[in-house]
Amino acid sequence: MNHTTVHTTSRRWASLASALVLVGLLLPACASTSGDTSPEDPWEDFNRGIWWFNMQVDEYALEPTAKGWTAITNEPVRESVGRFFTNLKFPASFVSNLLQAKFADTGTETARFVINTTVGILGFFDPATDWGIEAKREDIGEAFGAWGIGTGPYLVVPFLGPSDPRDLVGVVADDLVYPDFYSEEILVRAFDVVNDRALDMQRINDWKEEAFDFYIFVRDAYLQNREAKVDDFEDEDDDPGTDADLYGDELYGDDLYGDPDDEGLQDDPEGRE
């Protein structure tokens, strides 16, 4: 038993080390890519390759398994299982809140963990929310973000999905404080993923079918949602320049027609009046 624990723990440190090495190898590559991709996704070709692979995994393994799981369970059971796994992620949330000096939220998360693990029977139920103690969930990547560490370029990770160098390190750090399931570790993780896929079955399948470009849909949603989470959905500190880019009428208005230096005019002969 003790031997297995040591083994698992050292394996986790090894994954952290490999994530850091991977990020170290990838970051310099950023400088050498061509400029015709979007600025937040300089590795788009590589990412789309991994994305394609992940879509195959989803189509042939994850979705069918999740459908099987859906067939033998009802929604309350799947929601309970989801709550159980969320409860297990308490240590990462605790560490992240602490790292951001959010002491009140650290206390809230601790209270939730204690209540839900005991009264809520190992986290299968969520009495804490019913009692008005609402979740203040954070992960370690969010703490990195709160310290001002940038995400780096968008990165699609095999099996894991949308990420970025900062949050990939965050995910592996989350993992260091995740409870140990010894030799069943992979099975437990897979179960969590399958259950999540089952819970979101309709939504994900709709997105896949209805998006104009599912890869870009997910990339944009992931990057925006991640940034909002780091700011706790309060973007008062945001650089107003970001907003000006998104909502400025110079993008389609007077400047675009009037300024010959504008890049928009160069590939459009009709733009010259």
């Binding site: 929310t129 470009d213 990339r219 907003d243 998104l246 389609y252 027609y257 009037g258």
Partner: protein
């Protein structure tokens, strides 16, 4: 042609549509603030969603309610950004109509997922440049859905009007999300290809929603 004229010309069909959609529903106060606009918009949309009518009529009701409060012309321009001027006027009009329908269908889908029982306006914030953000929380049990609206003031004095120019769901701006996807589609298949793609997705979504709504009604 001067740009301001182009802008006005592009606005004309929208104004006509708005007038048609809101005939007889003139707002009581001349200059409601952003919060009041969101309160009115969400009330109108929820009423349209809950109407005891077949799917197509309810959808038309939601479209009319949103058209009264969303500036679809500005939204269309923001979403296409630099590509907007590459569409001729007929294409701009066709895109605007198709994309308005697309946003209505997207809104419907989110409304069907989240229970629109309770919408709480939590905060609002001046964004500068005449824009304002109103934050709302939908469904108050457990984790509420965070829906923010960005509004822009059109006109001055008594004729001033706050209109929605973006909806931000869980931190994800619809303008940004569609913009990045449309850039890709536009680059691959051009203006007409993009318009056709929007129309095609609309048919797919409305067909699915109609089936789901029929099922619910029994």
């Amino acid at each position: 042609m001067k740009p301001t004229h182009t802008l006005r010309l592009a606005l004309l069909p929208l104004l006509a549509l708005c007038a048609a959609a809101t005939a007889g529903a003139v707002p009581a106060t001349p200059d409601p603030g952003p919060r009041e606009t969101i309160r009115a918009a969400t009330d109108d949309v929820v009423a349209a969603l809950r109407a005891e009518l077949p799917y197509a009529d309810r959808l038309a009701g939601v479209e009319a309610a949103l058209t009264a409060h969303v500036d679809f012309n500005t939204v269309s321009k923001l979403v296409l950004a630099r590509n907007w001027k590459k569409l001729d006027e007929a294409q701009q009009r066709a895109f605007e109509i198709a994309f308005r329908r697309h946003l209505v269908l997207t809104y419907w889908k989110n409304a069907a997922e989240a229970s629109f029982d309770e919408i709480e306006i939590t905060k609002d914030r001046d964004e500068g440049r005449g824009d304002w953000t109103v934050k709302t929380e939908v469904g108050l049990t457990g984790a509420p859905l965070l829906m923010d609206y960005r509004l822009r003031k059109f006109g001055e004095g008594d004729g001033a009007d706050w209109r929605i120019i973006d909806i931000i769901i869980e931190g994800v701006s619809m303008v940004s999300n569609f913009r990045s996807q449309f850039q890709e589609v536009f680059g691959n298949s051009g203006a007409q290809g993009l318009i056709d793609a929007v129309i095609e997705k609309n048919q797919l979504m409305s067909e699915k929603q109609r089936l789901a709504a029929d099922e619910e009604d029994g």
